[in-house]
């Protein structure tokens, strides 16, 4: 058991640095898309497509029949249902600098998040904010639905 844990921990430490060595800007990639899906980055809105890179502060928007799935560098995954507005407010994942954190803001719609290595590095570093409350996620899977939120 102890050895298993050590292995996991080391595997985790190693993985983070690898990803960061490869690309320091992209923190994840779009892996599934259905219907109309957009990414709002620095005020510019563009249609999302498969394998598109996600960076910090991106706002993800899905249409009435839209949905999308993302895999982040720490192997955590996020999926969004239709009519959803989600912003990746913060993302830190660097084992060598011991940085780990994930903050998402969901203004409307549905999402499912499955935690990855960030949660193993720092159990208190992942949270999701809705217009009425904040969810702190400790190494698990969480679904959130926000109804009647931001209609921009």
């Amino acid at each position: 058991m102890y050895h298993g844990l050590c292995f996991l921990l080391l595997l985790m430490v190693y993985n983070c640095s690898t990803v960061f060595a490869a690309d320091s800007d992209a923190v994840g990639r779009v892996k599934t898309i259905k219907g109309s899906v957009y990414i709002l980055r620095g005020g510019e809105q563009s249609a999302a497509n498969i394998d598109m890179k996600i960076v910090r502060n991106d706002i993800l928007l899905t249409g009435k029949q839209g949905s999308m799935g993302i895999v982040f560098n720490d192997n955590s995954t996020l999926s969004l249902g239709p009519d959803t507005k989600f912003q990746l407010a913060s993302y830190e994942f660097n084992a060598l600098e011991k940085k780990a954190g994930f903050v998402g803001q969901i203004r409307r719609g549905t999402m499912i998040y499955l935690s990855g290595l960030i949660a193993r590095m720092n159990a208190d570093a992942t949270r999701f904010e809705t217009p009425v409350a904040v969810a702190g996620v400790r190494g698990t899977k969480l679904a959130i639905k926000v109804e009647g939120g931001d209609n921009e």
């Binding site: 050590c6 690898t18 249902g81 239709p82 409307r108 499912i112 809705t130 009425v132 969810a135 899977k141």
Partner: protein
């Protein structure tokens, strides 16, 4: 006062309240078991207080920022599946990590690891991955410089093997880390087969 005006005076606040009610951003939080069966926990906090979700499908609804979170309720799986249907279907496949091991001081795969290559290729095809990271590592035998070179050769060897088996080169991100990131911590000079490896993450 005119009856119509009175009616309006009474109904207007009700109407406004109803409208506000409609646009209040109700939030629902549901804790789910991870695919491996593990259930972590979630703390949901509003301005008025906080609550812990710790059981599968435990959920809490909040209507206003100053709502005090009350007792969580267990959502039925059927209700969950219909509420989150599209988000469920949009979930990506979680990344999978493979480890390949090498003969000491070389970029030659161990016979066991060579045998796992077809399994990896099958998996890459199955998930249509075009996002694969390959990183080479060594144990702590020999100098840093030599190990940097060996780890690079190991990563390149695996990249070469994958492309020779039909994986598109553009899908690969190759990195090498010498002896700096061992899986098993050892003193310098100690041979450790589990550190003589390439890690392959298929996303």
């Amino acid at each position: 006062m005119n009856n119509h005006v009175r009616c309006l005076l009474i109904s207007l606040p009700i109407l406004l309240f109803a409208l506000c009610g409609c646009s209040s951003p109700r939030s629902k939080f549901v804790l789910l078991p991870s695919p491996d069966g593990h259930v972590g926990n979630v703390t949901v906090a509003s301005k008025a207080g906080e609550i812990h979700l710790a059981k599968p499908f435990e959920s809490i609804d909040l209507f206003y920022p100053d709502d005090r979170p009350s007792q969580p309720v267990i959502m039925t799986e059927a209700e969950f599946n219909s509420t989150f249907k599209d988000a469920l279907e949009a979930q990506p496949t979680a990344p999978l990590t493979f480890l390949l091991y090498f003969e000491p001081g070389t970029s030659r795969l161990t016979p066991e690891s060579a045998k796992t290559l077809p399994v990896i290729i099958d998996y890459i095809r199955k998930v249509h991955s075009s996002d694969i990271s390959i990183s080479g590592h060594t144990d702590k035998v020999g100098s840093r410089d030599v190990n940097v070179r060996i780890s690079r050769e190991r990563a390149n060897e695996v990249a070469k093997l994958l492309t020779s088996m039909g994986v598109v080169a553009e899908s690969l991100e190759v990195a090498s880390h010498g002896m700096e990131l061992p899986l098993i911590n050892t003193p310098e000079g100690v041979p450790e087969p589990r550190n003589r490896r390439v890690e392959l993450v298929v996303r």
